[in-house]
Symmetry: C2
Subunit: 178 residues, 2 copies
């Protein structure tokens, strides 16, 4: 089971994904929010507690956090890094290993395009996990992180050439087309 | 009393400065280090514990953390943000308010030049706090953060025009020249 975290102070996406047979299933996903008017330390501390509670509830085998490279938005960069640090400590304190994945790796894994927009990630996560309705953009990013790691860790077995992910994507698209 | 923190995962500078009469005095300063080979979560968790211990030992009235804007070094940016988040949570959990200060504000406060290099900050901190020998660059940055905040919060009283900081800098330079 993997807990994906799309770090942020105002909005932090999370998604818990478990492998069942050859398929991935979402257990829980959502967005943790903190109060804009509060002291930054208090907001990060509230986030730390919410993440620790999530980890205690699900006991994931791994926590997958988005690694942001900060070329694009220097203004939000610091708070994304701060939220990420808090998430990594919450995982370490529970004895859970952490994996950092870059946004382009996630987009590539889930949509087949490393430069895909948030809406495509959202749409593909909804299909791949057969969700009844699309999750919020933050929750979708977090679910995509978890899926990306679980596919890498043990690809879905395939009889033909091509990786498990490509097959899973194709199968999801085929279901969609029916 | 202010605890300045120059956040970083490999090396995190800290400096405790207290106001005594019209002067600032360094209580303790140094660099916290984490093991390069360890899991990032474990490193950040170790940093969190070391910072919590520092806070418990000194009970500062404020924690002053460097706010980095990430225009220059995108590679180290994420880990600086992560360490900063950990420091902010350590402060908040101890009920201590947090102030973020930008590098240019600190440099301006301590050297009179917002674009000063690390060596000048180091030299001026050594003079202003009358240290027997220059602290490491990380510790000097942290001490400078604490000084910058304490000067802002309550400038050293002056009889003549000019702010307390300018006077303190002038006095330090005069001492140096003797």
């Amino acid at each position: 089971m993997a807990l994906g975290i799309d770090p942020g102070v105002s909005r932090c996406g999370y998604g818990v994904v478990v492998r069942r047979g050859g398929e991935l299933v979402a257990r829980e996903a959502g967005t943790l929010r903190t109060q804009a008017g509060d002291d930054l330390g208090v907001r990060l501390s509230a986030l730390a507690e919410a993440l620790a509670a999530l980890i205690t509830r699900h006991r994931p085998g791994v926590v997958v956090v988005e690694r942001v490279l900060f070329r694009r938005n220097a203004r939000t960069a610091m708070s994304v890094g701060q939220a990420s640090g808090v998430a990594l400590v919450a995982a370490a304190r529970a004895g859970i290993p952490v994996v950092e994945v870059s946004p382009s790796e996630v987009k590539l894994a889930v949509t087949g395009d490393g430069a895909a927009g948030k809406d495509r990630v959202q749409a593909m996560v909804t299909r791949l996990l057969r969700l009844p309705s699309p999750p919020s953009a933050d929750a979708a990013d977090a679910l995509a992180l978890a899926c990306c790691h679980l596919w890498r860790a043990a690809p879905v077995p395939v009889a033909e050439p091509g990786d498990g992910l490509a097959r899973a994507v194709a199968a999801a698209l085929a279901r969609e087309a029916r």
